[in-house]
Symmetry: C2
């Protein structure tokens, strides 16, 4: 980009990355089409857990690099959402309950025994990105949340319809993200629209979102190799 985009044009460019979102990955398409085996579902849940436990750590990195108190006041809620406020609460706990609902033990999920190297590398790359890049780029990388509610709604419907062997109580994480993700992406978008007002910073924001789409996509590539039989 060599010209400055208006905030609306920037937002439109960012939103156009929906087609790069991991909802379009073959592994994910099969999952939402009801075609995944139990092994694939379990593999996905166990591997995706590594992403979940790293979310507060990337948000801590953003809190650490962000100089704006007003931003931090809102951003800190993400850490609280995932960690919870007491034992047995929070998004990570919900993911452990999902793990149990698909037939995994907490122990085998928490000790990373099923974690595929490609998933680990992708997630670690994401955390490193948020620790080393300017904070507004780290915020921009979180904007895959723009596309999450749509995916979550489809995933919830798919799981309830096709994977009836999973206790619907285990799907609480997906439900909670239906409201959290729009709130979070609205804040992220507000920050990027406000701060990215030069061709360079706008290009960096777009690249950050593209990078994050690659992270999520690459995680599913590793799972496709690890669990896909077709």
């Amino acid at each position: 980009m060599t010209v400055v985009l208006t905030p609306d044009e920037l937002e439109e460019t960012l939103r156009a990355h929906a087609k790069q979102y991991h909802s379009e990955h073959p592994f994910h398409r099969r999952m939402n089409d009801g075609e995944s085996s139990r092994e694939e579902i379990r593999g996905w849940v166990a591997n995706r857990f590594y992403y979940q436990v790293n979310i507060p750590r990337k948000d801590g990195a953003i809190l650490s690099s962000c100089p704006d108190r007003e931003v931090r006041r809102r951003w800190v809620q993400r850490v609280i959402d995932h960690d919870g406020t007491t034992e047995g609460t929070g998004g990570i706990e919900s993911w452990l309950r999902l793990s149990e609902a698909v037939g995994l033990t907490r122990a085998e999920v928490e000790d990373s025994r099923h974690l595929l190297p490609g998933v680990r590398f992708a997630v670690d790359a994401y955390v490193t990105f948020t620790r080393t890049k300017p904070w507004v780029e780290a915020v921009a990388s979180s904007l895959t949340e723009l596309f999450a509610p749509n995916l979550m709604a489809n995933r919830l419907a798919a799981f309830e319809r096709y994977y009836t062997w999973i206790d619907p109580e285990g799907l609480a994480y997906f439900r909670s993200r239906l409201t959290q993700a729009p709130r979070d992406s609205e804040h992220g978008l507000e920050i990027v629209r406000k701060h990215c007002v030069t061709p360079e910073t706008q290009a960096a924001a777009v690249a950050a979102l593209s990078f994050k789409c690659d992270v999520l996509w690459s995680m599913l590539d590793a799972m496709e190799q690890g669990y896909g039989h077709h």
Copy 2:
């Protein structure tokens, strides 16, 4: 140290660092003895602000490096204490009110125009330490809070007695730390006692606290050079 200390011995070793605490620095002794000029008080408040604004950033770094959800759930409160939950609340805001009470404008404190290079370097070294060292060492470096309540109580008494030109309303930050610091140091101590159970990790914890004492001391060295006339 070549032998393992019991948790109580380790705590005793850590607490013995009280004599390295910046309350013993000549600049600070004069302040609490009522001998500081208005220029010294203002210089101290303006420079110390840089430390205050960096506290949530070092705590964000600890949240980012800490893998323990239970620890993060409690640690996140430090970020909230300093940033506040809404405009006009939190420890940083209280420090800005102290700044106004000593005759500085918010603008001249927030834009760092009075910030001395030695203060900046010391504070930056602290944040870098928490970003790059193992999280338990970063926690250990926070244990100067063990000595803070005593200092705060003396400082409050000194300010109310000697510096009557400062509106006592401006001293709210010191009052809030009287209860926050013991809660925080108790948590930090619990973590260090639990995790530092080898000669190496115990030595690292002691070194971390010693480093942090150096940070605070070095800040006052810079202020002594910048504002001390005696």
